[in-house]
Symmetry: C2
Subunit: 567 residues, 2 copies
Amino acid sequence: MKLEKLVGERFKERPADCSIDSHALMVRGGYIKQVANGIYSFTPTMKRIVRKIENIIREEMDAIDGQEVVFPVVMPATLWQESGRYEGVGKELMRFNDRNDVPLLLGMTHEEAAVHLVREYGNSYAKYPFMIYQIQTKIRDEARPRAGLFRLREFTMKDAYSYHTSQEDLQTYYNKAHKAYERIFARVGLPQVMSVEADSGMMGGKVSNEFMLLVPSGEDSIVTCEKCDYRANIESAAGIVVNTMPETLEVLTKTHTPGTKTIDDVCAYLKLPIENSCKAVIYQKASGEFIVLFIRGDQEANETKIGNLVGEEIFPASITEASGLIAGFLGPIGLKNVQILFDDSLKGTGNLCCGANETDYHFTGFNIERDFGVVEYHDFSKATKGGTCPNCNKPSIAISRGIEVGHIFHLGEKYTRSMEMKYVDETGKANYPIMGCYGIGVGRTAASVCEAYHDDYGPIWPMSIAPWQIHLCCVKSQDSETKVYADELYQNLQAEGIEVIYDDRPVSPGVMFSDADLLGVPLRIIVSPRNMKEGCCEVVSRDKAIKEMVKHDDVIACVQRLINEML
Amino acid sequence: MKLEKLVGERFKERPADCSIDSHALMVRGGYIKQVANGIYSFTPTMKRIVRKIENIIREEMDAIDGQEVVFPVVMPATLWQESGRYEGVGKELMRFNDRNDVPLLLGMTHEEAAVHLVREYGNSYAKYPFMIYQIQTKIRDEARPRAGLFRLREFTMKDAYSYHTSQEDLQTYYNKAHKAYERIFARVGLPQVMSVEADSGMMGGKVSNEFMLLVPSGEDSIVTCEKCDYRANIESAAGIVVNTMPETLEVLTKTHTPGTKTIDDVCAYLKLPIENSCKAVIYQKASGEFIVLFIRGDQEANETKIGNLVGEEIFPASITEASGLIAGFLGPIGLKNVQILFDDSLKGTGNLCCGANETDYHFTGFNIERDFGVVEYHDFSKATKGGTCPNCNKPSIAISRGIEVGHIFHLGEKYTRSMEMKYVDETGKANYPIMGCYGIGVGRTAASVCEAYHDDYGPIWPMSIAPWQIHLCCVKSQDSETKVYADELYQNLQAEGIEVIYDDRPVSPGVMFSDADLLGVPLRIIVSPRNMKEGCCEVVSRDKAIKEMVKHDDVIACVQRLINEML
């Protein structure tokens, strides 16, 4: 391919609306073009990268006996009503009616379609296990699309669904799929991607693993232990706090605490350590019902855990006068008409301060069981740096930022049971199959690679997914000897099956190399009048690790060897 | 792949709701499964076929310098408002709002997205010509989805867009694309597909060609000339009728014609040849406005041609009393509040009968120019069997049924002008590029092949797009010697890179062969205890043309030779 014919425009200025480097570089390099908020077209350069990633994924899915299928983008509401998700999923599910007013939706995931396709096929135990997958467009009405290809409204995903007759068989296959994911990330150039325990969200099952690339720009918080191999998304990591019950219980006393609306204010005013406070955090359900969580003052609430317990999405509360709630002074005693939750961090505490549900008043000497009653504690808090590891119990928790590049789940019987998919076992009894599901974002993987490997001038693509293998630069193509040689080299490289992008434009070396940097091809061959004099080409790697003068006779063999080493 | 592991169920009974053979066979053979009206999932077997077709298309697009891109399925209404199509296209365009009430739509074609992607890139004449294409999901809210994969609401298409600086350059490229299409159809096994002149519909330009497969089940009518190479879709074929003006003009006379509501009734009652009648055909615009077309009594009206003239979609009329129109007795004289059109077939006529706009009355001796006035005639009639060829003028028109498998268009400046895409030419002047567009349905191509090549028992896939190259049957796999040999042959065939589906189930030969017929793999190897005794396998082609006993030592070489011959 000649660079001058490559569709897509490149430019120097970092676009103002790009918050992360990969986004800025992919716009500047002519990889993607925004069509609407969170919706992009891909240029030929990007399509080449994406196709290579898809092929790697396809090979690894086929290697674990996956069978490729196609599910539709548009599905009837009735199909999602079978599983209960038509009503259960929020606004991110795009819903609309067809010309006959039949309600339809756009697939953001395909569990229902996957059960529909094999509901009759999978009628006997002899057919199990099996796995089907697709690589297809998904649509999801994100509230806040952002960060280029990381948070989109339309994206391409590989989603796979496996079917089993026992939990053990699912676990065996899940482990195989986990290994396939490790191979995929290694092959696309991201061997550092780590698997972490994750929240299953709306998917149904209990076990799930996210594959995380740790980068400072990541939008997820990842909990790791510095002493053992514990790794989890903060949404699912257990928050562990150990309390020592005081020897003497104080008397419950209402105290005037004027203007102390935050927990820090109150503790400072009362001269109490923050660990001795019972903080209120307030949310609302979609119905408007309030949920008040009490948590130790130094801990942060985790919305995902609360949502999982109440069984639906929750939102930050907006407190009106009519609610009767006294913001800033909420406490358990006398609190009415709300759902009250207690976090594990309050277990074993005593002599706390807490709001008195009265403006400018708090209680001190609050002891939950004595003054309020017996309560159930659950884990609602966020793990924090230096906190206790739930695996090794050492105070060695670290928090990093990460990008989720893949997610695999146990689904259990959620979909087969609700959609009445059954098989007959060896004894003639009808059972619901157990499912697993395995997702990976294709464009997101490309963007993750770019986020992990780039400099100020452009992406540095690994050989396995680079749009081309060689970027051939003919500097001063006005010089006929140089041009004749470069043209010939271009033909010869292609004849060897090497993927070449050839820049023979009559532009300055500066323009030529900055374009090459933006395209990020891992190896560059520079032909120039100066090199010609020495009978050499310059072979340079995009990451600057390689920079060699190579004799004309050896150029093809040299780059072939380098390509193979880098693949 | 082992047949017993292949996801997808096969069955014997023809499904009741399948009107055409390819649909019935693709459902029975476990290729497709309906998810909603006009929306299907594809099983692994179908996906294999589709992938091969896509690869053939991709190779041929790349061979004419096409660059593959991806456009989004979901687009903002604003993008289609730029071209005017958001308002111009009817209900087949699926429209809906996102969570912020921003109007979106689902792509049924991507001219707007194609201009959007290159609007800045294509700013100089030096970039031209270029072509971009995608292979992607399209969504179209068909009023009547039908015929399996032929008329869907969701389907995969390759759509390509080329950009030029002159009409001549477009025509040169258009001819290249036309040849690429011929190669595609030849390679997928449909060399008989013919290119016909076609209507451009809502696409904008004037020149277009459809690629038609002539089959009795086709939903299009194709006009061919038996004396020359004229070929056109009936929607665009000129209807040619030659009249001889009578020597003496009769007097216009109102006649009582009780109960004669059809043109045949009137002509019989008045004892006039049908060629001497002026028939009224009535339509309505979306606004409700009536359009009355007058046409020679023996001719049929072509709705597409009328729609093209009035510039919008038209519908069969529903005549109410309030309209003042006297159904069955409509004629030009005194007709009010409607748009009146005259077909070419009335040019040069005289002494006609026509409705008198009064119940039970017609005129005779009607002469248009004398009794009504000077009118413009246009071509609104359907070509008919035995009619005059517009190319060679011989009365040799034949009408066949066909399936449209591809469609290519001149688009002209319709989209570049409305969307303000300009390039600067050699002289520094800004111009609008001229576009061409080139579509082919992927699933539709597969279904067309099935429609062209099948018997009562299943499809007969050409080698180039068959899901597998070899169907290996181990008859009586209970026999251990047979099974051992067949297993080994399966391994050896795969080791040679041959695509094999292997049936070693302990089922009767009847079940085994009827499944093989449904999968339609072009070559079959039968291993059985009887064949083992002779040291042979049976090699049979799905179309029964080949049926040989081949010595064990020669089997692989034999099928390799046959595969190559059939590719």
